[in-house]
Protein backbone atom coordinates (compact mmCIF):
# COMPACT_ATOMS: atom_id res chain seq x y z
CA UNK A 1 0.00 0.00 0.00
CA UNK A 2 1.17 3.52 -0.63
CA UNK A 3 1.01 6.10 2.10
CA UNK A 4 -2.31 7.55 0.97
CA UNK A 5 -3.94 4.13 0.99
CA UNK A 6 -2.47 3.47 4.43
CA UNK A 7 -3.82 6.77 5.72
CA UNK A 8 -7.26 6.09 4.31
CA UNK A 9 -7.23 2.60 5.82
CA UNK A 10 -6.07 3.90 9.20
CA UNK A 11 -8.89 6.42 9.13
CA UNK A 12 -11.37 3.60 8.50
CA UNK A 13 -9.81 1.69 11.40
CA UNK A 14 -10.34 4.76 13.59
CA UNK A 15 -13.99 4.88 12.60
CA UNK A 16 -14.24 1.20 13.49
CA UNK A 17 -12.72 1.87 16.92
CA UNK A 18 -15.06 4.72 17.75
CA UNK A 19 -18.06 2.83 16.42
CA UNK A 20 -17.23 -0.34 18.37
CA UNK A 21 -16.62 1.48 21.64
CA UNK A 22 -19.74 3.62 21.20
CA UNK A 23 -21.80 0.51 20.56
CA UNK A 24 -20.31 -1.28 23.56
CA UNK A 25 -20.86 1.78 25.77
CA UNK A 26 -17.45 0.91 27.21
CA UNK A 27 -13.89 0.26 26.12
CA UNK A 28 -10.64 2.05 25.44
CA UNK A 29 -10.65 4.51 22.55
CA UNK A 30 -7.62 6.67 23.47
CA UNK A 31 -4.87 4.06 23.20
CA UNK A 32 -6.61 2.37 20.28
CA UNK A 33 -6.61 5.61 18.29
CA UNK A 34 -2.98 6.44 19.15
CA UNK A 35 -1.95 3.04 17.78
CA UNK A 36 -4.25 2.98 14.73
CA UNK A 37 -1.48 3.89 12.28
CA UNK A 38 0.84 1.29 13.81
CA UNK A 39 -1.86 -1.42 13.62
CA UNK A 40 -2.56 -0.45 10.02
CA UNK A 41 1.08 -0.44 8.98
CA UNK A 42 1.67 -3.84 10.63
CA UNK A 43 -1.34 -5.64 9.14
CA UNK A 44 -1.47 -3.97 5.70
CA UNK A 45 2.23 -3.58 4.96
CA UNK A 46 4.70 -5.13 7.34
CA UNK A 47 3.51 -8.53 8.48
CA UNK A 48 3.42 -11.72 6.48
CA UNK A 49 -0.15 -12.78 7.30
CA UNK A 50 -3.12 -14.15 5.43
CA UNK A 51 -6.67 -13.73 6.73
CA UNK A 52 -7.67 -16.86 4.78
CA UNK A 53 -5.17 -18.90 6.77
CA UNK A 54 -4.92 -17.24 10.18
CA UNK A 55 -3.20 -20.21 11.87
CA UNK A 56 -0.48 -20.77 9.29
CA UNK A 57 2.55 -21.92 11.34
CA UNK A 58 4.91 -19.75 9.30
CA UNK A 59 2.96 -16.50 9.64
CA UNK A 60 4.36 -13.49 11.41
CA UNK A 61 2.98 -13.09 14.93
CA UNK A 62 1.50 -10.10 16.71
CA UNK A 63 0.85 -9.85 20.44
CA UNK A 64 -1.16 -6.91 21.70
CA UNK A 65 0.50 -6.64 25.08
CA UNK A 66 -1.58 -3.52 25.82
CA UNK A 67 -4.68 -5.68 25.48
CA UNK A 68 -7.15 -3.00 26.53
CA UNK A 69 -6.73 -1.47 23.07
CA UNK A 70 -8.48 -4.47 21.56
CA UNK A 71 -10.86 -2.18 19.62
CA UNK A 72 -7.85 -0.99 17.60
CA UNK A 73 -6.72 -4.53 16.86
CA UNK A 74 -10.24 -5.76 16.09
CA UNK A 75 -10.99 -2.86 13.73
CA UNK A 76 -7.71 -3.55 11.91
CA UNK A 77 -8.33 -7.30 11.66
CA UNK A 78 -11.87 -6.69 10.42
CA UNK A 79 -10.71 -4.30 7.69
CA UNK A 80 -7.94 -6.74 6.77
CA UNK A 81 -10.61 -9.39 6.17
CA UNK A 82 -10.36 -11.67 9.20
CA UNK A 83 -14.02 -11.17 10.09
CA UNK A 84 -16.91 -8.89 9.08
CA UNK A 85 -16.55 -5.20 9.90
CA UNK A 86 -20.22 -5.22 11.01
CA UNK A 87 -19.28 -7.50 13.91
CA UNK A 88 -17.33 -4.65 15.52
CA UNK A 89 -20.62 -3.39 16.99
CA UNK A 90 -20.89 -6.62 19.02
CA UNK A 91 -17.77 -5.64 20.99
CA UNK A 92 -18.04 -6.51 24.70
CA UNK A 93 -21.60 -7.79 24.37
CA UNK A 94 -22.75 -11.06 25.86
CA UNK A 95 -22.16 -13.88 23.40
CA UNK A 96 -19.82 -11.91 21.14
CA UNK A 97 -16.46 -13.36 20.18
CA UNK A 98 -15.10 -9.83 20.43
CA UNK A 99 -14.30 -9.96 24.13
CA UNK A 100 -13.29 -6.79 25.98
CA UNK A 101 -9.69 -7.95 25.82
CA UNK A 102 -8.22 -10.18 23.08
CA UNK A 103 -9.05 -13.88 23.35
CA UNK A 104 -7.00 -16.05 20.99
CA UNK A 105 -9.40 -18.97 21.08
CA UNK A 106 -12.29 -17.03 19.61
CA UNK A 107 -11.02 -14.18 17.47
CA UNK A 108 -9.50 -15.09 14.08
CA UNK A 109 -6.13 -13.40 13.74
CA UNK A 110 -5.49 -12.94 17.46
CA UNK A 111 -2.23 -14.75 18.21
CA UNK A 112 -2.29 -14.39 22.01
CA UNK A 113 -4.81 -13.58 24.70
CA UNK A 114 -3.90 -10.50 26.69
CA UNK A 115 -5.31 -7.84 28.96
CA UNK A 116 -3.20 -8.11 32.07
CA UNK A 117 -0.49 -5.56 31.34
CA UNK A 118 3.11 -6.69 31.17
CA UNK A 119 2.38 -10.25 30.14
CA UNK A 120 2.03 -10.11 26.37
CA UNK A 121 5.66 -9.24 25.76
CA UNK A 122 6.74 -12.47 27.48
CA UNK A 123 4.53 -14.54 25.18
CA UNK A 124 5.97 -12.66 22.20
CA UNK A 125 9.45 -13.52 23.42
CA UNK A 126 8.38 -17.19 23.62
CA UNK A 127 7.14 -17.06 20.03
CA UNK A 128 10.38 -15.48 18.82
CA UNK A 129 12.40 -18.01 20.81
CA UNK A 130 10.42 -20.86 19.25
CA UNK A 131 11.31 -19.59 15.76
CA UNK A 132 14.99 -19.62 16.73
CA UNK A 133 14.76 -23.15 18.15
CA UNK A 134 13.04 -24.43 15.02
CA UNK A 135 15.01 -22.41 12.47
CA UNK A 136 11.86 -20.70 11.20
CA UNK A 137 12.00 -17.21 9.78
CA UNK A 138 8.69 -15.74 10.89
CA UNK A 139 8.93 -12.50 12.84
CA UNK A 140 7.14 -11.52 16.05
CA UNK A 141 5.79 -8.06 16.87
CA UNK A 142 4.35 -6.86 20.13
CA UNK A 143 2.77 -3.53 21.08
CA UNK A 144 3.10 -2.13 24.60
CA UNK A 145 1.74 0.95 26.29
CA UNK A 146 4.10 3.51 27.77
CA UNK A 147 2.33 3.10 31.10
CA UNK A 148 2.49 -0.67 30.73
CA UNK A 149 6.29 -0.60 30.76
CA UNK A 150 6.10 0.29 34.45
CA UNK A 151 5.44 -3.43 34.94
CA UNK A 152 8.58 -5.30 36.02
CA UNK A 153 7.74 -8.25 33.79
CA UNK A 154 8.37 -6.07 30.71
CA UNK A 155 11.99 -5.79 31.77
CA UNK A 156 12.28 -9.46 32.67
CA UNK A 157 11.17 -10.25 29.14
CA UNK A 158 13.45 -7.60 27.65
CA UNK A 159 16.44 -8.98 29.54
CA UNK A 160 15.75 -12.43 28.12
CA UNK A 161 15.21 -11.12 24.57
CA UNK A 162 18.36 -9.03 24.63
CA UNK A 163 20.44 -11.81 26.15
CA UNK A 164 19.22 -14.33 23.57
CA UNK A 165 19.73 -11.83 20.71
CA UNK A 166 16.18 -12.29 19.42
CA UNK A 167 16.55 -10.23 16.25
CA UNK A 168 13.24 -11.67 15.01
CA UNK A 169 11.40 -9.70 17.71
CA UNK A 170 10.15 -6.12 17.45
CA UNK A 171 8.83 -4.46 20.61
CA UNK A 172 6.81 -1.35 19.85
CA UNK A 173 6.04 1.12 22.63
CA UNK A 174 3.07 3.39 21.96
CA UNK A 175 4.49 6.47 23.63
CA UNK A 176 1.35 8.57 23.92
CA UNK A 177 2.48 10.03 27.23
CA UNK A 178 -0.69 9.13 29.11
CA UNK A 179 -1.97 6.38 31.35
CA UNK A 180 -5.15 6.22 33.44
CA UNK A 181 -4.10 8.44 36.30
CA UNK A 182 -2.55 11.10 34.07
CA UNK A 183 0.77 11.81 32.38
CA UNK A 184 3.22 8.96 32.60
CA UNK A 185 5.96 11.31 33.75
CA UNK A 186 3.77 12.55 36.57
CA UNK A 187 2.44 9.15 37.69
CA UNK A 188 5.74 7.24 37.86
CA UNK A 189 7.98 8.18 34.99
CA UNK A 190 9.43 5.40 32.83
CA UNK A 191 11.62 7.91 30.93
CA UNK A 192 14.10 7.66 29.34
CA UNK A 193 12.45 4.76 27.53
CA UNK A 194 14.99 4.45 24.71
CA UNK A 195 17.96 4.32 27.08
CA UNK A 196 16.27 1.60 29.12
CA UNK A 197 15.82 -0.66 26.11
CA UNK A 198 19.36 0.11 24.98
CA UNK A 199 20.58 -0.98 28.38
CA UNK A 200 18.75 -4.29 27.85
CA UNK A 201 20.70 -4.79 24.58
CA UNK A 202 18.00 -3.68 22.13
CA UNK A 203 18.53 -1.69 18.97
CA UNK A 204 16.26 1.30 19.57
CA UNK A 205 14.47 3.40 16.96
CA UNK A 206 12.46 6.53 17.79
CA UNK A 207 9.68 7.26 15.36
CA UNK A 208 6.65 9.49 14.79
CA UNK A 209 3.76 7.04 15.18
CA UNK A 210 1.56 8.94 12.76
CA UNK A 211 4.02 9.33 9.85
CA UNK A 212 3.91 6.36 7.47
CA UNK A 213 7.23 7.28 5.83
CA UNK A 214 8.84 7.20 9.26
CA UNK A 215 7.10 3.94 10.18
CA UNK A 216 8.21 2.38 6.89
CA UNK A 217 11.80 3.39 7.54
CA UNK A 218 11.68 2.19 11.14
CA UNK A 219 10.32 -1.27 10.32
CA UNK A 220 12.83 -1.60 7.45
CA UNK A 221 15.63 -0.75 9.86
CA UNK A 222 14.23 -3.32 12.28
CA UNK A 223 14.38 -6.02 9.60
CA UNK A 224 17.98 -5.18 8.84
CA UNK A 225 19.00 -5.33 12.47
CA UNK A 226 20.88 -8.54 13.22
CA UNK A 227 22.01 -9.95 16.54
CA UNK A 228 19.70 -7.96 18.78
CA UNK A 229 15.98 -7.37 19.28
CA UNK A 230 14.51 -4.03 18.21
CA UNK A 231 12.48 -1.57 20.24
CA UNK A 232 10.52 1.02 18.29
CA UNK A 233 9.51 3.93 20.50
CA UNK A 234 6.52 5.33 18.65
CA UNK A 235 5.75 8.91 19.64
CA UNK A 236 2.01 9.24 19.38
CA UNK A 237 -0.99 11.32 20.32
CA UNK A 238 -3.50 9.55 22.53
CA UNK A 239 -6.95 9.79 20.97
CA UNK A 240 -5.43 10.76 17.58
CA UNK A 241 -8.01 11.79 14.98
CA UNK A 242 -10.89 12.63 17.30
CA UNK A 243 -10.59 16.29 18.28
CA UNK A 244 -11.93 16.12 21.82
CA UNK A 245 -10.14 12.87 22.67
CA UNK A 246 -6.65 13.99 21.63
CA UNK A 247 -4.14 14.22 24.49
CA UNK A 248 -6.90 13.74 27.04
CA UNK A 249 -6.38 11.05 29.68
CA UNK A 250 -10.11 11.13 30.35
CA UNK A 251 -10.68 9.28 27.07
CA UNK A 252 -8.45 6.38 28.04
CA UNK A 253 -11.28 4.06 28.94
CA UNK A 254 -14.56 5.79 28.29
CA UNK A 255 -17.14 5.43 25.52
CA UNK A 256 -18.56 8.46 23.71
CA UNK A 257 -22.27 9.12 24.18
CA UNK A 258 -24.46 9.61 21.09
CA UNK A 259 -23.61 13.30 20.62
CA UNK A 260 -19.93 12.73 21.20
CA UNK A 261 -20.03 9.84 18.79
CA UNK A 262 -21.53 12.09 16.11
CA UNK A 263 -18.75 14.66 16.62
CA UNK A 264 -16.09 11.95 16.54
CA UNK A 265 -17.39 10.45 13.33
CA UNK A 266 -17.70 13.90 11.76
CA UNK A 267 -14.04 14.54 12.63
CA UNK A 268 -13.02 11.29 10.98
CA UNK A 269 -15.27 11.84 7.95
CA UNK A 270 -13.61 15.21 7.44
CA UNK A 271 -10.16 13.65 7.62
CA UNK A 272 -11.30 10.99 5.16
CA UNK A 273 -12.64 13.55 2.70
CA UNK A 274 -9.41 15.55 2.87
CA UNK A 275 -7.43 12.40 2.13
CA UNK A 276 -9.62 11.52 -0.85
CA UNK A 277 -9.14 14.96 -2.37
CA UNK A 278 -5.39 14.37 -2.48
Amino acid sequence: MDNLELKITANEVRKGIVTAVHSAKAGHPGGSLSAADIFTYLYFEEMNVNPEDPKNPDRDRFVLSKGHTAPGLYATLAHRGYFPVEDLTTLRKLGSYLQGHPCMQHVPGVDMSSGSLGQGISAAVGMALSAKISGKDYRTYTLLGDGEIQEGQVWEASMFAGFHKLDNLVVIVDNNGLQIDGKIDEVCSPYPIDKKFEAFNFHVINVDAHDFDALRAAFAEARQTKGMPVAIIAHSVKGKGVSFMENNAGWHGKAPNDEEYAVAMADLERIGEQLCQK
Binding site: R61, S113, S122, A123, V125, G126, M127, S130, M159
Partner: protein
Protein backbone atom coordinates in the same frame (compact mmCIF):
# COMPACT_ATOMS: atom_id res chain seq x y z
CA UNK B 1 9.29 -49.81 55.98
CA UNK B 2 13.01 -49.24 56.52
CA UNK B 3 14.01 -51.60 53.72
CA UNK B 4 12.17 -49.59 51.07
CA UNK B 5 14.13 -47.54 48.57
CA UNK B 6 13.60 -43.80 48.98
CA UNK B 7 13.83 -41.23 46.17
CA UNK B 8 12.41 -37.71 45.91
CA UNK B 9 9.61 -37.16 43.42
CA UNK B 10 11.56 -34.24 41.91
CA UNK B 11 14.10 -36.84 40.75
CA UNK B 12 11.26 -38.44 38.83
CA UNK B 13 10.57 -35.06 37.26
CA UNK B 14 14.13 -34.66 35.98
CA UNK B 15 14.48 -38.24 34.80
CA UNK B 16 11.02 -38.18 33.24
CA UNK B 17 11.88 -35.02 31.31
CA UNK B 18 15.12 -36.52 30.02
CA UNK B 19 13.33 -39.67 28.81
CA UNK B 20 10.62 -37.56 27.25
CA UNK B 21 13.12 -35.30 25.52
CA UNK B 22 14.61 -38.28 23.74
CA UNK B 23 11.32 -39.27 22.14
CA UNK B 24 9.56 -35.91 21.75
CA UNK B 25 11.51 -33.14 19.98
CA UNK B 26 8.82 -30.60 20.83
CA UNK B 27 9.58 -30.74 24.53
CA UNK B 28 11.33 -27.57 25.73
CA UNK B 29 12.33 -27.06 29.36
CA UNK B 30 12.48 -23.69 31.12
CA UNK B 31 13.81 -23.00 34.57
CA UNK B 32 14.32 -19.96 36.78
CA UNK B 33 17.79 -20.44 38.26
CA UNK B 34 16.91 -23.63 40.10
CA UNK B 35 17.87 -26.29 37.57
CA UNK B 36 19.99 -28.21 40.07
CA UNK B 37 17.21 -28.27 42.65
CA UNK B 38 14.25 -28.89 40.34
CA UNK B 39 16.31 -31.58 38.55
CA UNK B 40 15.73 -30.04 35.13
CA UNK B 41 19.51 -30.04 35.00
CA UNK B 42 19.19 -33.68 33.91
CA UNK B 43 17.33 -32.53 30.81
CA UNK B 44 19.69 -29.61 30.27
CA UNK B 45 22.62 -31.99 30.17
CA UNK B 46 20.94 -34.22 27.59
CA UNK B 47 19.33 -31.51 25.44
CA UNK B 48 21.09 -28.18 26.02
CA UNK B 49 19.59 -26.67 22.85
CA UNK B 50 16.08 -27.19 24.23
CA UNK B 51 16.75 -25.90 27.73
CA UNK B 52 16.43 -22.21 28.62
CA UNK B 53 17.25 -20.62 31.93
CA UNK B 54 15.03 -17.58 32.30
CA UNK B 55 16.88 -16.33 35.33
CA UNK B 56 15.05 -15.37 38.49
CA UNK B 57 11.96 -14.11 36.69
CA UNK B 58 9.14 -16.59 37.15
CA UNK B 59 6.31 -14.47 35.77
CA UNK B 60 8.21 -13.93 32.55
CA UNK B 61 9.05 -17.63 32.38
CA UNK B 62 5.34 -18.51 32.42
CA UNK B 63 4.71 -16.02 29.61
CA UNK B 64 7.57 -17.37 27.52
CA UNK B 65 6.17 -20.86 28.04
CA UNK B 66 2.79 -19.61 26.83
CA UNK B 67 4.33 -18.12 23.71
CA UNK B 68 6.25 -21.32 22.99
CA UNK B 69 3.06 -23.33 23.37
CA UNK B 70 1.23 -21.20 20.80
CA UNK B 71 3.79 -22.38 18.24
CA UNK B 72 3.42 -26.09 19.01
CA UNK B 73 6.21 -26.59 21.51
CA UNK B 74 5.50 -28.45 24.75
CA UNK B 75 7.17 -26.28 27.38
CA UNK B 76 7.79 -27.46 30.93
CA UNK B 77 8.25 -24.35 33.10
CA UNK B 78 10.04 -25.28 36.28
CA UNK B 79 10.66 -23.67 39.64
CA UNK B 80 9.67 -24.16 43.28
CA UNK B 81 5.94 -24.50 43.94
CA UNK B 82 6.04 -21.25 45.93
CA UNK B 83 7.14 -19.27 42.89
CA UNK B 84 5.28 -21.23 40.22
CA UNK B 85 1.84 -21.18 41.85
CA UNK B 86 2.45 -18.24 44.18
CA UNK B 87 4.62 -15.60 42.57
CA UNK B 88 3.43 -16.35 39.05
CA UNK B 89 -0.20 -17.12 39.85
CA UNK B 90 -1.61 -14.37 37.70
CA UNK B 91 0.65 -15.16 34.76
CA UNK B 92 -0.38 -18.82 35.00
CA UNK B 93 -4.02 -17.82 35.22
CA UNK B 94 -4.08 -15.25 32.43
CA UNK B 95 -1.31 -16.25 30.02
CA UNK B 96 -1.69 -20.04 30.32
CA UNK B 97 -5.04 -20.94 31.88
CA UNK B 98 -7.34 -18.49 30.12
CA UNK B 99 -6.06 -19.31 26.60
CA UNK B 100 -5.86 -23.00 27.65
CA UNK B 101 -2.32 -23.34 26.34
CA UNK B 102 -0.35 -26.55 26.32
CA UNK B 103 2.06 -25.56 29.08
CA UNK B 104 3.27 -27.92 31.79
CA UNK B 105 4.28 -26.37 35.09
CA UNK B 106 6.81 -28.46 36.99
CA UNK B 107 6.61 -27.27 40.58
CA UNK B 108 9.10 -28.84 42.95
CA UNK B 109 9.76 -28.30 46.66
CA UNK B 110 6.07 -28.28 47.50
CA UNK B 111 4.94 -28.55 51.11
CA UNK B 112 6.86 -28.54 54.37
CA UNK B 113 9.35 -31.26 53.43
CA UNK B 114 11.31 -28.42 51.85
CA UNK B 115 12.71 -28.47 55.36
CA UNK B 116 15.48 -26.16 56.52
CA UNK B 117 14.69 -23.25 54.16
CA UNK B 118 11.63 -22.60 56.27
CA UNK B 119 8.19 -21.10 55.73
CA UNK B 120 9.10 -18.66 52.95
CA UNK B 121 9.83 -21.64 50.71
CA UNK B 122 7.28 -24.16 52.01
CA UNK B 123 4.29 -23.81 49.74
CA UNK B 124 1.16 -25.28 51.32
CA UNK B 125 -1.20 -23.30 49.13
CA UNK B 126 -0.39 -24.35 45.56
CA UNK B 127 -3.06 -27.03 45.14
CA UNK B 128 -5.70 -24.57 46.29
CA UNK B 129 -4.47 -21.88 43.91
CA UNK B 130 -4.03 -24.09 40.88
CA UNK B 131 -7.25 -26.04 41.13
CA UNK B 132 -9.33 -22.87 40.97
CA UNK B 133 -8.07 -22.12 37.46
CA UNK B 134 -10.60 -23.39 34.92
CA UNK B 135 -9.20 -26.20 32.79
CA UNK B 136 -6.04 -26.66 34.83
CA UNK B 137 -5.09 -30.27 35.50
CA UNK B 138 -3.38 -30.71 38.89
CA UNK B 139 -1.13 -33.73 39.43
CA UNK B 140 0.47 -34.71 42.72
CA UNK B 141 2.43 -37.95 42.37
CA UNK B 142 3.22 -40.14 45.37
CA UNK B 143 6.62 -41.54 44.49
CA UNK B 144 9.45 -41.50 41.99
CA UNK B 145 7.80 -43.97 39.64
CA UNK B 146 4.52 -42.12 39.62
CA UNK B 147 6.29 -38.78 39.19
CA UNK B 148 8.08 -39.98 36.10
CA UNK B 149 4.90 -41.43 34.66
CA UNK B 150 3.03 -38.21 35.44
CA UNK B 151 5.54 -36.22 33.38
CA UNK B 152 4.90 -38.42 30.37
CA UNK B 153 1.12 -38.38 30.84
CA UNK B 154 1.21 -34.58 31.09
CA UNK B 155 3.11 -34.34 27.81
CA UNK B 156 0.57 -36.53 26.05
CA UNK B 157 -2.34 -34.49 27.38
CA UNK B 158 -3.23 -31.35 25.40
CA UNK B 159 -3.72 -28.43 27.79
CA UNK B 160 -2.27 -26.83 30.91
CA UNK B 161 -1.02 -29.15 33.66
CA UNK B 162 0.41 -28.32 37.09
CA UNK B 163 2.73 -31.02 38.43
CA UNK B 164 3.60 -31.03 42.12
CA UNK B 165 6.83 -32.61 43.35
CA UNK B 166 8.65 -32.81 46.65
CA UNK B 167 12.20 -32.19 47.74
CA UNK B 168 12.64 -34.99 50.26
CA UNK B 169 13.26 -38.64 49.50
CA UNK B 170 10.11 -40.72 49.93
CA UNK B 171 9.49 -44.47 49.68
CA UNK B 172 9.10 -45.93 46.21
CA UNK B 173 5.79 -47.78 46.39
CA UNK B 174 5.13 -48.45 42.71
CA UNK B 175 6.76 -50.93 40.38
CA UNK B 176 8.20 -49.09 37.39
CA UNK B 177 7.79 -51.98 34.97
CA UNK B 178 4.06 -52.39 35.50
CA UNK B 179 2.95 -48.91 36.59
CA UNK B 180 0.37 -47.16 34.38
CA UNK B 181 -0.56 -43.52 34.92
CA UNK B 182 -3.97 -42.34 33.87
CA UNK B 183 -4.85 -38.68 34.49
CA UNK B 184 -7.94 -38.44 36.69
CA UNK B 185 -7.85 -42.02 37.94
CA UNK B 186 -7.73 -42.63 41.69
CA UNK B 187 -5.94 -45.81 42.73
CA UNK B 188 -7.30 -48.03 45.48
CA UNK B 189 -4.02 -49.29 46.88
CA UNK B 190 -5.55 -51.23 49.73
CA UNK B 191 -9.11 -52.30 50.21
CA UNK B 192 -10.87 -51.89 53.53
CA UNK B 193 -14.32 -51.51 55.08
CA UNK B 194 -14.06 -49.38 58.26
CA UNK B 195 -12.53 -46.14 57.05
CA UNK B 196 -11.26 -44.60 53.81
CA UNK B 197 -7.97 -42.72 53.70
CA UNK B 198 -7.73 -40.52 50.63
CA UNK B 199 -4.13 -39.40 50.27
CA UNK B 200 -1.95 -37.55 47.81
CA UNK B 201 1.77 -37.01 47.28
CA UNK B 202 4.04 -38.06 50.08
CA UNK B 203 1.07 -38.84 52.33
CA UNK B 204 0.28 -41.93 50.31
CA UNK B 205 3.11 -44.08 51.62
CA UNK B 206 2.49 -42.79 55.15
CA UNK B 207 -1.18 -43.75 54.81
CA UNK B 208 -0.29 -47.26 53.68
CA UNK B 209 1.85 -47.62 56.77
CA UNK B 210 -1.04 -46.44 58.92
CA UNK B 211 -3.42 -48.92 57.30
CA UNK B 212 -1.00 -51.71 58.11
CA UNK B 213 -0.85 -50.67 61.74
CA UNK B 214 -4.66 -50.34 61.94
CA UNK B 215 -5.07 -53.79 60.44
CA UNK B 216 -3.06 -55.24 63.30
CA UNK B 217 -5.72 -53.78 65.60
CA UNK B 218 -8.55 -55.21 63.55
CA UNK B 219 -9.42 -51.93 61.81
CA UNK B 220 -9.83 -52.26 58.07
CA UNK B 221 -8.72 -49.10 56.23
CA UNK B 222 -9.07 -48.49 52.52
CA UNK B 223 -6.28 -46.37 51.04
CA UNK B 224 -6.83 -44.37 47.87
CA UNK B 225 -3.99 -42.63 46.08
CA UNK B 226 -5.28 -39.48 44.43
CA UNK B 227 -2.45 -38.48 42.10
CA UNK B 228 -4.81 -36.24 40.15
CA UNK B 229 -6.39 -33.59 42.32
CA UNK B 230 -8.15 -32.14 39.29
CA UNK B 231 -10.08 -33.62 37.60
CA UNK B 232 -10.88 -35.53 40.78
CA UNK B 233 -11.93 -39.19 40.55
CA UNK B 234 -15.33 -38.69 42.18
CA UNK B 235 -16.57 -42.19 41.44
CA UNK B 236 -13.76 -43.95 43.26
CA UNK B 237 -14.06 -41.64 46.27
CA UNK B 238 -17.86 -41.91 46.47
CA UNK B 239 -17.84 -45.68 46.10
CA UNK B 240 -15.36 -46.01 48.91
CA UNK B 241 -17.20 -43.54 51.16
CA UNK B 242 -20.41 -45.45 50.60
CA UNK B 243 -18.68 -48.62 51.72
CA UNK B 244 -16.82 -47.31 54.80
CA UNK B 245 -18.97 -44.34 55.82
CA UNK B 246 -15.93 -42.45 57.12
CA UNK B 247 -13.31 -40.54 55.17
CA UNK B 248 -9.89 -39.22 56.15
CA UNK B 249 -7.96 -37.01 53.73
CA UNK B 250 -4.19 -36.64 53.97
CA UNK B 251 -2.07 -34.08 52.16
CA UNK B 252 1.14 -32.13 52.65
CA UNK B 253 -0.76 -28.92 52.04
CA UNK B 254 -3.12 -26.59 53.83
CA UNK B 255 -6.43 -28.14 54.84
CA UNK B 256 -7.95 -25.07 53.21
CA UNK B 257 -8.56 -25.50 49.51
CA UNK B 258 -6.53 -28.62 48.86
CA UNK B 259 -7.33 -32.32 48.47
CA UNK B 260 -9.40 -32.35 51.67
CA UNK B 261 -11.57 -29.50 50.47
CA UNK B 262 -11.97 -31.08 47.04
CA UNK B 263 -13.02 -34.39 48.59
CA UNK B 264 -15.45 -32.61 50.93
CA UNK B 265 -17.03 -30.85 47.95
CA UNK B 266 -17.73 -34.18 46.32
CA UNK B 267 -18.99 -35.87 49.49
CA UNK B 268 -21.18 -32.96 50.60
CA UNK B 269 -22.86 -32.74 47.23
CA UNK B 270 -23.40 -36.46 46.79
CA UNK B 271 -23.14 -38.50 49.95
CA UNK B 272 -22.29 -36.62 53.14
CA UNK B 273 -20.23 -38.71 55.57
CA UNK B 274 -17.99 -37.65 58.47
CA UNK B 275 -14.62 -36.40 57.24
CA UNK B 276 -11.33 -35.77 58.99
CA UNK B 277 -8.92 -33.56 57.07
CA UNK B 278 -5.22 -34.04 57.74
CA UNK B 279 -2.85 -31.37 56.50
CA UNK B 280 -1.35 -28.06 57.55
CA UNK B 281 -3.95 -26.49 59.82
CA UNK B 282 -3.94 -22.89 58.61
CA UNK B 283 -0.37 -22.32 59.79
CA UNK B 284 2.97 -21.55 58.19
CA UNK B 285 5.77 -24.06 58.48
CA UNK B 286 9.24 -23.39 59.87
CA UNK B 287 12.85 -24.50 59.57
CA UNK B 288 13.84 -28.00 60.49
CA UNK B 289 14.61 -31.31 58.88
CA UNK B 290 11.83 -32.75 56.76
CA UNK B 291 11.47 -35.65 59.18
CA UNK B 292 11.25 -33.36 62.21
CA UNK B 293 8.69 -31.15 60.48
CA UNK B 294 6.33 -33.91 59.37
CA UNK B 295 6.51 -35.27 62.91
CA UNK B 296 5.77 -31.88 64.46
CA UNK B 297 2.87 -31.13 62.13
CA UNK B 298 1.40 -34.61 62.30
CA UNK B 299 2.10 -35.48 58.70
CA UNK B 300 4.11 -38.63 59.31
CA UNK B 301 2.63 -42.10 59.78
CA UNK B 302 2.42 -41.63 63.57
CA UNK B 303 0.57 -38.35 63.19
CA UNK B 304 -1.89 -39.76 60.70
CA UNK B 305 -2.40 -42.84 62.86
CA UNK B 306 -3.23 -40.71 65.92
CA UNK B 307 -5.67 -38.57 63.94
CA UNK B 308 -7.41 -41.57 62.41
CA UNK B 309 -7.81 -43.22 65.81
CA UNK B 310 -9.22 -40.03 67.31
CA UNK B 311 -11.63 -39.74 64.40
CA UNK B 312 -12.80 -43.34 64.68
CA UNK B 313 -13.28 -43.05 68.45
CA UNK B 314 -15.41 -39.92 68.21
Amino acid sequence: MSEVKKIATREGYGDGLAELGAVNPNVVVLDADLAAATKTGVFKKAFPERFFDCGIAEGNMMGIAAGLATTGKIPFASTFAMFAAGRAFEQVRNSIGYPHLNVKIGATHAGITVGEDGASHQCNEDIALMRTIPGMVVLSPADYVEAKAAVKAAAEYEGPVYLRFGRAAVPVINDEASYQFEIGKGLVLREGSDVTIVATGIMVSASLEVAEKLAAEGISAEVINIHTIKPLDKDTILASAKKTGKVVTAEEHSVIGGLGSAVCDVLCENNPVPVCKIGMNDVFGESGSAAALVAKYGLDADGVYRKVKEFLNK
